[in-house]
Symmetry: C2
Subunit: 63 residues, 2 copies
């Protein structure tokens, strides 16, 4: 399960902390997801999709 978080974040010039705040999770969670330590829960994946205005499939990719 890969994801395009880092790119989407860069496009908006957000730090991991910025993104964490918008998603209401810790900065460490954002970092862990970006660096592939684990996958987000489904509810969090939806929040991410909503935030970026993209379908989940456009952000998270089967690997």
């Amino acid at each position: 399960m890969k994801n395009r978080l880092k790119v989407l974040r860069a496009e908006r010039d957000w730090s991991q902390g910025d993104l964490a705040e918008r998603l209401q999770v810790s900065r460490q969670s954002v970092n862990a997801i970006e660096t592939g330590k684990y996958d987000p829960s489904l509810p969090l994946a939806f929040r991410i999709a909503d935030l970026f205005g993209l379908p989940i499939e456009a952000i998270f990719l089967r690997d």
Copy 2:
């Protein structure tokens, strides 16, 4: 987080056990997800979407 699993399953005349087998999870997991006890993990949500040939957003709905 609601889901349309029960309907999709009914359309195909699958039991919870059938679906569990196809998803490679326990029958109890399918039941727990259907009855709203908890949400599936993102990888499992992708497997469900793939199985039914639908986007995640067409199966799981924000509540």
